[in-house]
């Protein structure tokens, strides 16, 4: 009996990288579209609307996540 360490390692590596990657990119998208709050101590709960550039960047992030989901569906179907 042989344990397929290579395959197990591959699942581990791929899962870790892809999960952290997608969550990171998606979070950047959320951060880009949400209002930025002033650092603690400066202003009382004031927040700044996101800039156009931030919104554009966020759209790219969300598109990347949508592509990842599409690839996931492709993996299920294929």
């Amino acid at each position: 009996m042989s344990i397929e360490w290579a395959a197990l390692g591959e699942v581990f590596g791929v899962s870790l990288v892809v999960t952290v990657g997608i969550v990171g990119v998606f979070t950047l998208g959320i951060v880009g579209t949400a209002r930025r709050t002033a650092p603690a101590g400066e202003g009382d709960g004031e927040s700044v609307a996101p800039t156009g550039a931030a919104r554009a960047g966020a759209t790219v992030c969300f598109a990347a996540c949508a592509a990842a989901v599409a690839y996931g569906i492709y993996l299920i179907v294929a």
Partner: protein, 398 residues
């Protein structure tokens, strides 16, 4: 082509019953955190999951084709009675763990049942011990760890990146992401688990000589298995949803999103690379990882350890019940009837016991911690609100 015998018919019905329990046992996997973070209303969540399970079941038949050859040696004289006994063991264990609100693996229950029944009626030669270790035991240990570590890392990252944003501004985005990743888990569940039942029914048809060996599942098998798992999913195993959504840890939208993404990724990566793993264990692992990954996050280790104990017991317990059933069923037609009657009686008793403290879509989010605690659906014990309240404040200060 022989005619469909009564026994084969019984096996098919039993397989569909198992498929149904599989559906409601596993609704929690895709939807527990979606429901507990409020991303979707409970009824909407289970309806969506049911539809995706239905769709998923039609997408491929790869898993169905591998179930028989992999773990059970179908050439060793497996008879329909053996499959029947295996299914009974799996159903009884699935219902018992549901009664306790414990998310355990339906796949392991099925494998355990089939292995136990095969051991009793055929002996060691009927099973592939190597395949059991490599395809069942190792993924069972590795999958929740991998999913948990990935979810913990992702949770940490998402909180760090989003630390200058107010949670009320970001919650909507996280919930949308959670719905998407939960949908992916449901779809993958449909392709994996509905197909296991299709594989079992096909195996029964092959052993009964109704279809030729190595054939694809007939269309009616695919349709009935898909419908059975979708109905089960829609019914919703609310007890297990409550444990996974509230009992393991208090899940916030960012954590839910990280956990769901981790689950979807691990399930897809491993099934793509040929590991059949338990969706349940992956999702539970992710949820605990998301609990650990958040600063000040709390994981209820007592619930978690009861769950892990149930995982360890699933294979032998389902095997034991199935072994006893196989012994009885092997005595002849009367034995099969006795097994069927006992099986139905056990299901009815478990269902009756569940009525005493019913959990449904109305109170699924209201209690956390010990799923065994007697819960009056009308008056919710006051202390139940305290843990979520304290963790909410700790989050606000974090």
């Amino acid at each position: 082509m022989e005619h469909l015998t009564l026994l084969i018919g019984v096996v098919i019905v039993t397989a569909l019953v198992f498929d149904f329990t599989n559906g409601f046992h596993d609704t929690a996997n895709a939807m527990a955190t979606t429901i507990s973070t409020g991303a979707l209303k409970p009824k909407t969540a289970v309806a969506m999951s049911a539809v995706l399970n239905l769709v998923g079941a039609f997408l491929s038949v790869e898993v169905a084709k591998t179930i028989s050859g992999g773990i059970i040696d179908e050439g060793s004289g497996i008879k329909p009675e053996v499959i029947f006994a295996g299914l009974v063991g799996a159903i009884v264990w699935n219902l018992l763990t549901w009664l306790a609100g414990l998310p355990s693996s339906s796949s392991h229950a099925l494998f355990g049942g089939l292995i136990g029944a095969t051991l009793v009626s055929v002996g060691w030669s009927g099973i592939h011990a190597d395949a059991i270790v490599m395809k069942v035991l190792i993924p069972a240990i590795a999958a929740p760890l991998v999913a948990g570590i990935a979810a913990a890392a992702a949770t940490r990252l998402t909180y760090r990146l989003g630390k200058n944003r107010r949670s009320e501004d970001t919650a909507k985005g996280y919930r949308a992401g959670q719905i998407a990743s939960g949908a992916l888990v449901s779809l993958a569940h449909g392709t994996n688990d509905a197909q296991k039942t299709m594989g079992v029914i096909t195996l029964a048809l092959i052993t009964g000589g109704v279809v030729a060996p190595n054939s694809d599942p007939p269309m009616w098998v695919i349709v009935s298995a898909a419908v059975a798992i979708a109905l089960g999913t829609y019914l919703g195993g609310w007890r297990i949803i409550r444990t996974m959504g509230k009992g393991l840890t208090d899940i916030k939208p960012p954590q839910g999103f990280a956990a769901q993404t981790s689950s979807a990724t691990v399930i897809l990566a491993s099934s793509h690379l040929g590991f059949a793993l338990s969706t349940t264990q992956v999702c539970s692992g992710s949820i605990m990882g998301a609990g650990v990954g958040k600063k000040g996050g709390v994981v209820h280790w007592s619930t978690a350890s009861r769950m892990v104990a149930a995982w360890g017991l699933t294979l032998p317990a389902a095997g034991l019940v199935a072994g006893a059933a196989a012994f009885l069923a092997g005595q002849g037609d009367w034995g099969v009837v006795v097994v069927a009657v006992l099986g139905i009686a056990a299901c009815a008793a478990i269902w009756a016991a569940s009525r005493r403290n019913a959990v449904d879509h109305t109170n699924v989010n209201e209690v956390e911690g010990d799923a065994d605690a007697a819960v009056d659906p009308v008056t919710i014990p006051a202390p139940a609100a305290a843990p979520s309240g304290t963790s909410a404040t700790s989050r606000a200060t974090a």
